[in-house]
Subunit: 216 residues, 2 copies
Amino acid sequence: MSRFQPTQRTQVKRLPDRGAYDSETVFKILDEGLICHVGFSEDGQPFVIPTSYTRVGDTLYIHGSAASRMLRTLAEGVQVCVTVTLLDGLVLARSAFHHSMNYRSVVVLGRATLVTDPEEKIKALEALTEHIVRGRWNDVRLPTEAERKATAVLALPLAEVSAKIRKGPPKDDAEDYELPIWAGVVPLSTVPAAPIADPRLKAGLEPPDYAKKYSR
Amino acid sequence: MSRFQPTQRTQVKRLPDRGAYDSETVFKILDEGLICHVGFSEDGQPFVIPTSYTRVGDTLYIHGSAASRMLRTLAEGVQVCVTVTLLDGLVLARSAFHHSMNYRSVVVLGRATLVTDPEEKIKALEALTEHIVRGRWNDVRLPTEAERKATAVLALPLAEVSAKIRKGPPKDDAEDYELPIWAGVVPLSTVPAAPIADPRLKAGLEPPDYAKKYSR
């Protein structure tokens, strides 16, 4: 199992036992998440924008319109932070103070580069689609040259990376455990519902299994 | 219905019909979300950190340990971006290119200030707890003076704000509607499971309704 070297900037300081730096933990969180939040600054103002992403080996890819402000700014090689958060539950402690949430998050710092190699780009686009719905790429109308040109794909190396995890029951102060207050966790998860067919769907087309039985 | 004035920085430019600036839409998203992603820069490096939050009127509050790097940096009045994203579904189009997600997000720009007024601070702490689980504040052991001192609460005015929403079926190119490819939406939602009692719970304590029947 490989391990990311924590840096001054990624080391989890305040609650260090929540930090994790092994690639297995990091990749599992990244592979389960559907959206990331991308942070970058423009004229000193930070922006945080949600977007989809995928991971291929040690590289995180995001994509978007080649005309988008975010993609154009990131392609300049500015410093970026990409964060993926999975919310697992609400932690109800006996004291207001110790209320918390169970979560798994990954923070990636670095600089992104524009993917210009056509083969890497189409592989990344395939991975971006497959990350959302495994099996979809083989069923769809693939990108035309014009569509590939209109799409910018950015690569961010997974090098300066940390994970942070909180799990399990509340941690109350010793004396509070005697209080007659219910405490525990309300688990939360992201759950799919039955697929909704496009109103313009051609007659006779059934939803594929990856939509009917969607899971991550 | 009041309306936030879009600025050069919050105006949704590329797909302008996805932008919304009315307070009803913005507040509904903020009130449904459980976590926000806070973006700020330190030495030119952006950081994006997930945390809980609440809204009281035109103010967004976040809190954390008074010792945390993020809280101390934000309390200096640096520029901040707080983003809340609700993921509603996966949009499976006939073409790879038009795959998308249904979501509702809010982006808040501004500068936060440390809440020093004791009354505003305790009201914010109450709202932070109630935002996660309505009804919880009245059941718990309330913060001591030492706990209130150890907690920093930051206020961010909801002034420079925009919402962005994508909903509904895929939007494919005209000629692709003829393809024999299933298209539609896989709806996603955040769903609670049965509460898990703290293993150290005193005998005879039943989970309250707000935990047993948790909903937002």
